[in-house]
């Protein structure tokens, strides 16, 4: 294990030194430009609505990853911080005099403060230890607050939730936020601000120590830091940003309900974050985008979307514990070594048939589902732009054949890919 050292140790060292003194702005500028341009590509309201949802999830997932990825704390009840922040914002929206004097873009700050306040209360006892105890307290507190949402009607509005109207805020440079597109830019601005702040947080002393405490709380204690307080600060900061996400939710949907607090939402954010990859800052961003697309776009295509999402999730945990981001970052050494070209052909040869095989499998799943659950006499089904009779033999033969052949090719070509992968990685020898 000791020999795996990069070729020329001086080079990365220089690079790091340069990088450590200047914050690299490149990705942020690209992100800002993309955020600004996207609505010109997707002009219809539903795309904008979906993107709004995506960016809100991005903030929430990044906040969640402050705990899971950076602090090593597994929370099963993080939705409550976003939810409480959101509910607070709804109440501010309904406090007409105060709200009329408040520019709408400032509102999420209040959500953040309320999320933070709640996190301070809960964190004061839950961050004493990490691991199972923390996870279980988060589950318990999450359940309690979710249960409160139908009991404490004065604040949570019961099952109907609390709704309001964002347009009653003080106009912000003449904008009343009547249209989705205006809200889109508000959310986009917040995504940039929040993501940048969270990124910077990971560069602060307490952010660095969060990593240290995650890896080795005992050692951190012998460096003068109380593991508990380091966790507490991470927890409170995470609560703040979750609250911001809640505030943006309030602005976008103008309603908050019990679902913003319940364990399902808490579970979803865990899935999102893990799917994207907890090991990298940008992992949750990818996870949020991928999951929102699954949830809103795939669910338009098939009622089995949750089944596919579940399969994808389990497969990720089993085969790529680094998540989508980990999968991407696996290729960084290859690119650094300039050997990416070696991989193109093997990838095409393996992944293309694999993709066809997976599509074939899902076609089979859909056909089974159709045969089993569709209306009697309703034999026609449409799959991949083809309409056929699901009770005929032919489609089954085709689907089975395609799947089997495709997976067979994948299997046959997999060793070549493995070799190519090793080849692409070995020259430098780094793992």
């Amino acid at each position: 294990m000791t020999d795996q050292i990069t070729t020329d140790p001086t080079k990365p060292s220089e690079r790091m030194r340069a990088g450590s003194m200047t914050l690299s702005l490149g990705p942020w500028i690209v992100a800002a430009v993309l955020l600004a341009v996207l609505p010109f590509i997707f002009t219809n309201n539903s795309s904008i609505t979906i993107m709004n949802q995506m960016w809100i999830t991005v903030i929430f997932a990044l906040a969640y990853n402050m705990l899971l990825g950076q602090g090593g704390m597994l929370s099963f009840g993080h939705a409550v911080y976003a939810g409480v922040g959101g509910f607070a914002c709804m109440h501010i929206m309904n406090a007409s005099d105060f709200f009329a004097a408040l520019p709408l873009p400032v509102l999420p700050v209040f959500g953040g403060l309320f999320g933070m306040g709640l996190a301070m209360i809960v964190g004061s006892f839950s961050t004493r230890s990490a691991g199972t105890v923390f996870a279980m307290i988060s589950l318990g507190v999450g359940e309690l607050i979710a249960a409160c949402s139908v009991i404490i009607v004065a604040f949570f509005g019961g099952e109907e939730g609390v709704s309001g109207d964002r347009t009653y805020a003080r106009p912000f440079f003449g904008t009343e936020f009547l249209q989705q597109i205006e809200v889109y830019y508000l959310i986009s601005a917040w995504v940039l601000i929040a993501a940048a702040l969270m990124y910077l947080w990971s560069r602060t002393p307490v952010g660095r120590m969060a990593n240290a405490v995650r890896d080795n709380p005992e050692r951190a204690e012998f460096l003068g830091y109380s593991a508990r307080w380091v966790r507490f600060y991470s927890f409170v900061a995470s609560g703040f940003f979750a609250g911001i996400a809640g505030g943006l939710f309030a602005i976008n949907y103008e309603i908050l309900t019990e679902e913003n607090l319940n364990t399902t939402s808490s579970g979803v954010i865990l899935l999102v974050t893990f799917l994207g990859g907890v090991g990298f800052f940008f992992g949750p961003i990818i996870g949020a985008i991928a999951f929102t697309l699954l949830q809103t776009v795939l669910s338009l295509q098939t009622e089995l979307w949750a089944f596919y999402a579940g399969t994808l999730f389990v497969a990720t945990v089993m085969f790529f514990p680094g998540g989508l981001a980990g999968l991407m970052m696996m290729h960084v050494p290859v690119f650094k070594l300039g050997k990416a070209r070696l991989l193109i052909l093997p990838y095409l040869k393996t992944l293309l048939p694999a993709l066809i095989g997976i599509l074939g499998l899902s076609a089979l799943v859909e056909m089974v589902f159709h045969v089993r659950h569709a209306a009697y006499g309703d034999d026609e089904m449409t799959l991949f732009w083809t309409t056929f009779n699901s009770h005929d033999i032919l489609p089954w033969v085709v689907a089975l054949g395609v799947t089997a052949i495709a997976l067979g090719i994948t299997r046959a070509n997999a060793p070549a890919l493995r070799d190519a992968w090793n080849e692409a990685n070995t020259a430098g020898g780094s793992a």
Partner: protein, 318 residues
């Protein structure tokens, strides 16, 4: 007074049912350090398999076969899923079982659809065993009590009186040593996982007809099983039993008697605010015990974790 007796029996049934789930879960945890989120999903599978078998072969064959199938499935999950994830650490393991729970729910819906299943108590047990002050105690409940007590005794016997049990107990504390002594620890893990999930399967088989067999049945029970073993102390069989019964009785009694928050607060000397309807805390004042009965275990768990993180009977500090 009669009602108290009835409630004690009802709470016992609930508690013992919970125990059948938590016993397996706590064994699995103490052995592998895995909190199996999908445990209640195996309970659900037990009910569905038993339903399917009972259509063809009757209830009793379902009771016999369904747990076996569930156990084999569980062992398969350990062998081909969990063992693989194990190398990445505990958090991915936990997340894996979490994903598995979702997937099983989707699978069940895929196969059996989304409706309630018509899974009934067998005719042989479909009568009232006795009645206390008009409250009939169905014979099936007595049957449930006997089955769970039999399982507890059997489990205790195997763990403390047999060679396999000794090895398991040793493997609990010193897996490396046991492995060095030539025992196949991965096989033991797989076996314990299989048995644990089979126990959950039994619980599903006998609870399905009473509590309903539907895709949400795992979700309703899922986290409460967790709460039970955390309260009892992770890894403690006795703890699981005590916590299960405790939760069974607490929830039963809280539902049976309307205790109002206002009474409690007045009792400890806090006066009811005058215009309650306008008070921000109005909903807090009007809480009744049945309203919060099913979240009482969570309150209990949080309190226990704050003041005694290792649970009632726990020795280990995780």
């Amino acid at each position: 007074m009669d009602l108290i007796l009835v409630n004690i029996i009802d709470g016992l049934v609930t508690g013992l049912l919970l125990f059948m789930l938590s016993a397996g879960l706590t064994l699995i945890f103490s052995m592998m350090g895995v909190l199996n989120f999908a445990h209640a999903s195996f309970y659900m599978l037990g009910a569905y398999f038993a339903y399917q078998i009972s259509i063809a072969l009757g209830f009793w064959m379902g009771l016999l076969l369904a747990p076996l199938i569930v156990g084999v499935l569980g062992a398969g999950v350990e062998r081909y899923g969990l063992r693989r994830v194990h190398q990445y650490g505990h958090v991915p393991e936990l997340i894996f079982t979490f994903g598995l729970a979702l997937l099983i729910e989707e699978l069940v819906q895929f196969i059996w659809g989304k409706n309630q299943m018509a899974y009934f108590v067998p005719d042989a047990l479909n009568f009232s065993a006795f009645a206390i002050a008009g409250n009939s105690i169905p014979a099936y409940k007595i049957f449930m009590i006997f089955i769970s007590i039999a399982i507890f005794i059997g489990l205790l016997y195997i763990l403390t009186r047999t060679r396999v049990g000794m090895i398991i107990q040793a493997a609990l504390s010193y897996p490396r040593t046991v492995e060095a002594l030539g025992h196949n620890v991965p096989l033991i893990f797989m076996g314990v996982f299989g048995v644990g999930t089979a126990l959950a399967g039994v619980a599903g088989v006998i609870a399905g007809p009473v509590l309903g067999t539907f895709p949400g049945m795992a979700f309703v029970l899922g986290s409460i099983v967790f709460v039970t073993i955390v309260i009892g102390g992770l890894g403690s069989l006795w703890g699981a039993l005590v916590a299960s019964l405790l939760i069974g009785w607490i929830t039963t009694f809280a539902k049976s008697y309307n205790i109002e928050m206002a009474d409690i607060l007045n009792g400890i000397g806090i006066g009811t605010p005058e215009n309650l309807d306008e008070s921000l805390f109005r909903d807090f004042w009007t809480i009744t015990s049945p309203q919060i009965a099913d979240i009482l275990p969570y309150i209990l768990m949080v309190l226990i974790l704050i003041f005694r993180p290792s649970g009632l009977f726990g020795k280990r500090h995780s």
